[in-house]
């Protein structure tokens, strides 16, 4: 190979191009930079994958906030609950707030009472026949005498058949109300906490708005009841907390990692110069990666950044190698860079290849990460090659104290056998682990604290909210058709509930019967003469005064001319309750049937099939999200395989030595197998992010193996080589060891995997990738 003997200065045009590139990247970040912190935008879009274009954040369920007030006495809590509800009701960001007080406003109640003969589910033919009236009046006569009447006494003249009771019963039916205490507000079962629920106007994933609202709620509560404690949960509150956790972790771990690496560099060289010199390729890589991701995706996710910075820490290996080799009296820094370049480039290109495959996935977070790391690694490698030597000057750096275990210079033969045995053992572990512990639940990656999740479960349970995992969807062309189909399905739903597969269901038809049903009810009202006659007879029998039920007769007369209620004419409070169950999607209408207590999803699917309705679908959001995760996992595995294949080709092409390629690949294989088996033995459930970790391990191990397999003749060179690889492995192990302590499950998964991977890769590469100590005995070096 043709080389310059010494080139102490970087060519000016290279420096210019490099600086220009950095300025450009900085410009992009300043102009367009936006760090996204919403976890949902990092994860695959499950709702879209389900083929159902449901509103983001699962719609109304995502807009719900759950509030709990504790401390003080029950009267104080009730007062605080009322005051808070009153204050929140007035906020433009709040659609509705409930604390257990009657939820219908006066106007809605009046409308309901007026339309009770069209709306009441009990209004079947014969409901007001002579015999039926006689029975109703007997019950009402009892009510007048009883201390515990079935219908409040003041309603008896207007509503002898208690339609208002049947109607309100129906409207309150789908969910059990929370417990209400003597003060009339919702409280927990133990009575020590007042409860409220709140529907926000903004979507649940509009985190900036939600965060502002949460702050307003907390500040307002502080004014109202400074001595009490307010706890808030619900999807938006949880997401806001997750976002702040992500932000904090990103800050904390990038700072910690930087400090650790700086400390390590200082310790190795006893000088601060290598610290800022090493920061140069890393910084350049980071800047370039972030800029390119921003250009391609329009934003960069906080997790990408956190991940990316740590993963990119691997690129510290490049300057480390250079520093370790650049202080030899015999060669200048740029000479060292020249001689290192083939191995460095090979490592960087192989690693970049693996991440290039990852960058092509549809999983936004993964794609961002892939692009970020691949760009960063290449830029860091190029910076190390072309910029750093010029800055190192003629003398390079002081001699590094490289923590090289000497026995690895000439590893005992037994070492390889031991490693072989370990790999065999690991393969057995992999083979007998059945089933393979994949974690398909996306929420396992959720950065939300166990405490917050417990609070969410607690408030959800106390407020008795429905299951958000399963939903049945009925499609129709019009509102009327949607309601009619839902009504037609109701008896089958009752059967389903009776079978025990689900504990309950809720439909739009519960709130608003179809027009056809309302008209049938209206037409089945008895004619005025018959009714008056039957009523007179029944009233006389029970001792009611003549004319006692005139308000009833008047109401029935006006019911005869009523037009059926529609979603447009429904009172606002009810329209609001209807909206999440009946929605337009383009030209079609969706009637959503929410389910609670689904014990047997299989039976539910069977039931759906038996209905034989092409318009009916069962959506299991969790199964969908699991299918999505499984899909991405398979994709990641396939990509890993392709990546290894591509790397093999690259190795063969660059080294032109099948023997060396094989040694490198067997070291990589051994590292991966051992790391995976160790994870299994540690009882870790493997997620997508462990796979990402393994991808990273692949890159690292490639680097180590490539360096270990360099055909170096002199003992001094080999010692130096071993030293620089050891320093690299140490720095990586430190950073990822830190990461394994993170509160974010995602970072923890990555940290643990890479930590294990680095240890095994380093050993495997040292033992396997070196040419056999007996074919190149150190004594024979020239």
């Amino acid at each position: 190979m043709n080389r310059h003997l010494t080139a102490p200065r970087t060519a000016p045009w290279i420096l210019l191009v490099w600086l220009l590139g950095l300025v450009l990247a900085l410009g992009v970040l300043l102009m367009r930079g936006h760090v996204e912190a919403d976890l949902a935008r990092f994860m695959p879009d499950v709702a879209a994958e389900s083929g159902l274009d449901l509103p983001a954040g699962a719609g109304p369920a995502g807009r719900l906030l759950l509030l709990g007030i504790s401390g003080g006495g029950d009267a104080t809590r009730a007062q605080a609950s009322d005051a808070l509800a009153e204050r929140l009701q007035d906020l433009p960001a709040v659609t509705a707030v409930h604390n257990g007080r009657p939820r219908l406003d006066e106007a809605s109640l009046d409308t309901l009472l007026d339309y009770r003969y069209l709306l009441s589910p009990a209004m079947e033919p014969g409901r007001l026949s002579g015999t039926a009236l006689a029975e109703h009046l007997a019950v009402r006569r009892d009510d007048l005498a009883a201390s515990v009447p079935a219908l409040p006494r003041h309603l008896i003249p207007r509503d002898p058949s208690a339609e208002s009771l049947a109607l309100l019963d129906q409207l309150a039916a789908p969910r059990d109300a929370p417990r209400r205490d003597a003060h009339g507000v919702w409280v927990s079962r133990d009575g020590h906490q007042a409860l409220l629920s709140l529907l926000t106007r903004a979507e649940g994933l509009d985190l900036d708005v939600q965060e502002a609202l949460l702050a307003v709620i907390r500040a307002g509560f502080q004014d109202i009841a400074p001595g009490l404690v307010l706890e808030i949960s619900g999807p938006a509150a949880v997401a806001v907390q997750a976002r702040s956790t992500i932000r904090n972790e990103v800050m904390l771990f990038s700072t910690l990692a930087s400090l650790t690496l700086a400390g390590l560099l200082w310790w190795l060289f006893r000088s601060l110069r290598p610290v800022w010199l090493a920061a140069l390729p890393l910084g350049a890589g980071l800047l370039a990666g972030a800029a390119l991701v921003t250009l391609v995706f329009g934003q960069i996710h906080g997790i990408t950044l956190a991940f990316g910075i740590t993963v990119l820490g691997v690129a510290l290996d490049y300057p480390l190698h250079l520093f370790a080799h650049a202080n030899r009296p015999a060669s200048s820094p740029s000479g060292a860079a020249d001689s290192l370049w083939p191995a460095l480039a090979l490592g960087a290109i192989s690693t970049a290849l693996v991440y290039a495959l990852m960058a092509l996935t549809a999983f936004t977070g993964m794609a961002q990460l892939g692009l970020f790391v691949l760009t960063g690694i290449l830029v860091a490698a190029l910076t190390t090659r072309f910029i750093l030597p010029g800055l190192l000057g003629r003398t390079g750096l002081p001699e590094a104290r490289l923590p090289a275990p000497a026995w690895l210079l000439d590893p005992p033969r037994a070492g390889r056998w031991l490693l072989g045995a370990l790999v065999l053992g690991a393969l057995v572990v992999l083979a007998i682990t059945e089933p393979f512990p994949w974690e398909d639940d996306l929420s396992a990656l959720n950065p939300v604290s166990e405490e917050q999740r417990r609070l969410d479960r607690h408030l959800r349970g106390e407020l008795k909210l429905a299951d958000v995992r399963h939903v049945l969807v009925l499609r129709a062309d019009t509102v009327e058709q949607a309601l009619a189909r839902t009504e037609a399905l109701t008896p089958a739903l009752e059967d389903l509930r009776a079978s025990g597969s689900v504990a309950g269901f809720d439909t739009a038809a519960r709130i608003l019967p179809s027009r056809a049903t309302q008209e049938t009810r209206r037409q089945s009202l008895p004619d005025a003469d018959n009714l008056a006659r039957d009523l007179r007879a029944a009233a006389r029998d029970q001792g009611f005064r003549e004319g006692a039920f005139q308000p009833f007769l008047d109401d029935l007369e006006s019911a005869r001319t009523q037009l059926p209620l529609t979603p447009q004419t429904l009172p606002p409070t009810l329209a609001e309750a209807l909206a999440p169950l009946l929605m337009a999607q383009g030209e079609t209408w969706l009637s959503l049937i929410s389910l609670s207590g689904v014990t047997d999803p299989g039976a539910l699917d069977g039931w759906v099939v038996r209905q034989d309705l092409p318009t009916l679908t069962h959506v299991d959001f969790k199964a969908h999200s699991e299918a999505v995760v499984t899909g991405f996992r398979d994709e990641a595995l396939t990509r890993l395989a392709w990546g290894l294949l591509a790397v093999t080709v690259v190795l063969l092409v660059f080294t032109r030595s099948p023997g060396r390629s094989l040694r490198v690949l067997s070291a990589v294989g051994a590292g991966l197998i051992l790391a995976t088996a160790a994870l299994l033995l540690l009882q870790v459930r493997l997620t997508l992010f462990h796979l990402v970790g393994l991808l990273l391990v692949t890159g690292l191990c490639l680097d180590y193996a490539v360096f270990f397999s360099r055909p170096l003749a002199s003992l001094e060179d080999r010692r130096r080589n071993l030293g620089s690889v050891s320093a690299c492995a140490l720095s990586t192990a430190l950073v990822f060891g830190l990461l394994a302590l993170s509160a974010l499950p995602v970072l923890r998964a990555l940290g643990l995997t890479v930590l294990l991977g680095v240890i095994f890769s380093f050993l495997a590469a040292a033992l396997l990738a070196q040419a056999s100590p007996h074919s190149h005995p150190p004594q024979t070096s020239p």
């Binding site: 201390s147 409040p152 006494r153």
Partner: protein, 201 residues
């Protein structure tokens, strides 16, 4: 357990002046002079079990109704109301639990919250019989006329939900005895109970 909500809603129906929310029982009114003395004499002299004769006047019915039965108070807070005759029933209120028995079998078990009018009556009766002016004060605005030998208490509910249903109570007594309770409900329903110490068990 959704009945409380239903009841609260039904109570709102066709009653004027619906206002959401109500005042928790934190009053600052001073206790009417003499109330303590009246309650103390009741606690000393009134037996736990009283026989009553109730006359109910109802604008919906041709005739007034006559009911007889017993009221029993067992400290600290158990109240039992037994009605004789064909429409007979036993209502037992313990703490916040309400049990209704008819014809010797339990018909319903429910929470007192679900029956605000009865809860109002229970609060008044417990306050009177349990010598508990604080409970009485928490639920009602109180006017006291007369002296311990012959007094009249006028109770007006403070809770707005209750006030929509129960307009007021007038209670007469003297010399340690509870003599009459007049209850006026919305819609013109009126009950007039005459009380005397129970004979026999």
């Amino acid at each position: 357990m959704r009945r409380p909500e239903l009841w609260a809603l039904l109570l709102c129906l066709c009653l004027p002046g619906l206002v959401q929310g109500n005042d928790p029982g934190n009053n600052t009114d001073s206790e009417p002079a003499g109330l303590s003395a009246v309650l103390a004499s009741m606690a000393r002299d009134t037996p736990g079990r009283l026989a009553f004769t109730e006359t109910r006047n109802d604008p919906m019915l041709e005739e007034t109704q006559q009911l007889t039965g017993h009221l029993e108070f067992q400290p600290p807070d158990t109240l039992i109301r037994t009605v004789d005759g064909p429409r007979g029933e036993t209502v037992r209120i313990e703490d916040n639990r309400l049990t209704v028995e008819r014809g010797g079998q339990v018909r319903r078990e429910l929470s007192l919250d679900e029956q605000p009018p009865l809860a109002g009556f229970a609060a008044a009766f417990r306050g009177l019989m349990g010598n508990d002016p604080a409970t009485l004060q928490a639920h009602y605005e109180i006017e006291l006329h007369g002296d311990p030998t012959d007094w009249e208490l006028r109770l007006t509910p403070r809770d707005r939900t209750l006030a929509r249903f129960l307009l007021g109570m007038e209670i007469h007594g003297g010399e340690g005895q509870l003599r009459e309770i007049l209850t006026r409900e919305a819609g013109g329903h009126e009950s007039h109970m005459r009380l005397e110490p129970a004979k026999g068990p």
